[in-house]
């Protein structure tokens, strides 16, 4: 087999950026975290590449969650928009963005969510889009409600939208949640607070965006998502005398 020179890998995130797998405040992590140390997987071809989807994964209208089943979803209509960037600030163009969320009353369109809040027949909470050439995405949806989840006494999840991102490499795959500014429920939410670094935690919170707010129609929220950046090439970073 012909030897190759691998391109630069992806930078490790600073400690505290991501939650630990074992987080006492979130009870369900107890039996779902490994107890042995992770092995290091160097970034080789499988890790430096990843699925690059085209428009075939997105159906027309999937960027508008408010119109399903022929009617309009109930709730505060919002525009959620932003950019997908890498750690060097470069846009990630033409990448799939998948979202899912609860309805305005905090109820998910799912058979195991049975708490006493009404379903909305016009809202499934599923959305998909592709970023454009500038890495920008835009969804129209309704502001999700908070919901109770039994993790601790009187436990309520802050309103959030689940986001799934692929970037351009297996190494950049990210599933996260977008929160809303000044949510009074942050203080008691172990999932939000599982992120050790308070600055990193704030990167999950969207900003109210009056520019994106449309008169007599919808409130705007802006949220940029940052995926891992590349290591510099050896030519740029290695000292000569190494």
């Amino acid at each position: 087999m012909t030897p190759i020179d691998l391109p630069p890998g992806y930078r490790a995130d600073p400690s505290g950026t991501h939650p630990p797998m074992d987080f006492a405040g979130y009870g369900s992590t107890a039996l779902r975290h490994p107890t042995r140390a992770l092995h290091v997987l160097p970034h080789r071809l499988t890790e430096l590449t990843g699925p690059l989807f085209g428009d075939e994964r997105v159906l027309p209208g999937e960027d508008d969650l408010t119109r399903w089943n022929g009617g309009e979803a109930v709730g505060q209509r919002i525009v959620v928009h932003g950019r997908v960037l890498d750690g060097d600030g470069r846009p990630v163009p033409n990448t799939l963005v998948e979202v899912w969320q609860a309805n305005a009353g905090g109820r998910y369109f799912h058979r195991v969510d049975n708490w006493p809040s009404p379903l909305d027949p016009n809202f499934t909470g599923l959305g998909r889009t592709m970023t454009n050439d500038k890495g920008e995405f835009r969804f129209i949806t309704i502001r999700p409600g908070a919901y109770p989840w039994g993790n601790h006494p009187n436990a309520w999840r802050p309103a959030h939208i689940h986001f799934s991102l692929f970037g351009r490499a297996f190494t950049q795959r990210l599933v996260t949640q977008m929160y809303f500014p000044d949510d009074p429920l942050f203080f008691q939410d172990p999932i939000f607070n599982s992120v050790p670094d308070p600055q990193a935690r704030q990167r999950m919170v969207s900003a109210y965006d009056h520019e994106a707010t449309t008169d007599h129609w919808a409130l705007g929220f802006r949220w940029d998502i940052v995926l891992r950046g590349r290591e510099q090439t050896p030519f740029e970073s290695e000292p000569d005398d190494d």
């Binding site: 087999m1 030897p3 190759i4 020179d5 691998l6 391109p7 930078r11 995130d13 950026t17 991501h18 939650p19 797998m21 979130y26 107890a30 039996l31 779902r32 975290h33 490994p34 107890t35 042995r36 992770l38 290091v40 997987l41 970034h43 080789r44 071809l45 499988t46 890790e47 590449t49 699925p51 690059l52 994964r57 960037l85 750690g87 600030g89 899912w100 998910y108 799912h110 195991v112 499934t124 599923l126 689940h162 351009r168 490499a169 297996f170 190494t171 795959r173 990210l174 599933v175 996260t176 949640q177 999932i191 939000f192 599982s194 992120v195 990193a200 990167r203 999950m204 940052v226 995926l227």
Partner: protein, 191 residues
């Protein structure tokens, strides 16, 4: 160079990932009837040995020639039409499966060769971050012995990352998130 931007933190997929993530053709890395297709199946279990019914398993892999339809492959992208990606939500028994083609071996640094493998991501409620593991193939004894990733593991761990052939031809690959009486923990990787 400007200061790098901090990454957005990972959060759990939560209990309702099945609203947003599964695709009807998710497990079909290749369509039914594809010549040479293999079936890989397993169960996802937790530290009590219980099946995880609200998880998602994804795979990413090279094509049978060991190539990727991706511009960052220094050998150049190929347009084989091979998706290389699969995703399958786990069912009530924690079961997941994929129909795919066996990938080829991959060149890497220093003239070494990686044995054919799949990269695997695991997501579930109760997991604040994905876990990553790899599937290797039982008919690649020599290539597996030379694989630079497997060589860093002990023999028991290597065995856990090697799929088991079943009488019906399926390759079985079970994932255990945490050691339990029922069995050892799957080796996982930091990427």
């Amino acid at each position: 160079m400007t200061e790098p931007l901090g990454s957005t933190p990972s959060q759990t997929v939560g209990p309702f990932l099945s609203i947003g993530l599964p695709w009807p053709d998710g497990p079909d890395v290749v369509p039914e009837g594809t010549a040479g297709a293999i079936r890989i199946a397993g169960t996802l279990a937790d530290g009590a040995g219980a099946p995880v019914p609200d998880g998602l398993v994804e795979i990413w892999q090279a094509d049978p020639a060991g190539r990727f339809a991706h511009p960052d492959d220094p050998r150049g992208p190929v347009a084989s039409g091979f998706r290389g990606f699969g995703r399958c939500a786990t069912e009530s028994g924690g079961a997941f499966w994929f129909r795919t083609l066996k990938p080829g071996a991959l060149p890497c640094e220093g003239g070494r060769v990686e044995a054919p493998h799949l990269d695997v991501s695991v997501f579930a409620r109760g997991m604040l971050h994905r876990l990553v593991t790899r599937v290797y193939f039982p008919d690649e004894v020599d290539a597996n012995a030379a694989d630079p990733v497997l060589r860093e593991l002990d023999p028991a761990e290597r065995a856990l990352l090697t799929a088991l052939p079943q009488p019906d031809g399926t390759l079985r690959f079970d994932i255990r998130l945490q050691a339990a009486e029922a069995g050892p923990e799957t080796p996982f990787f930091a990427v």
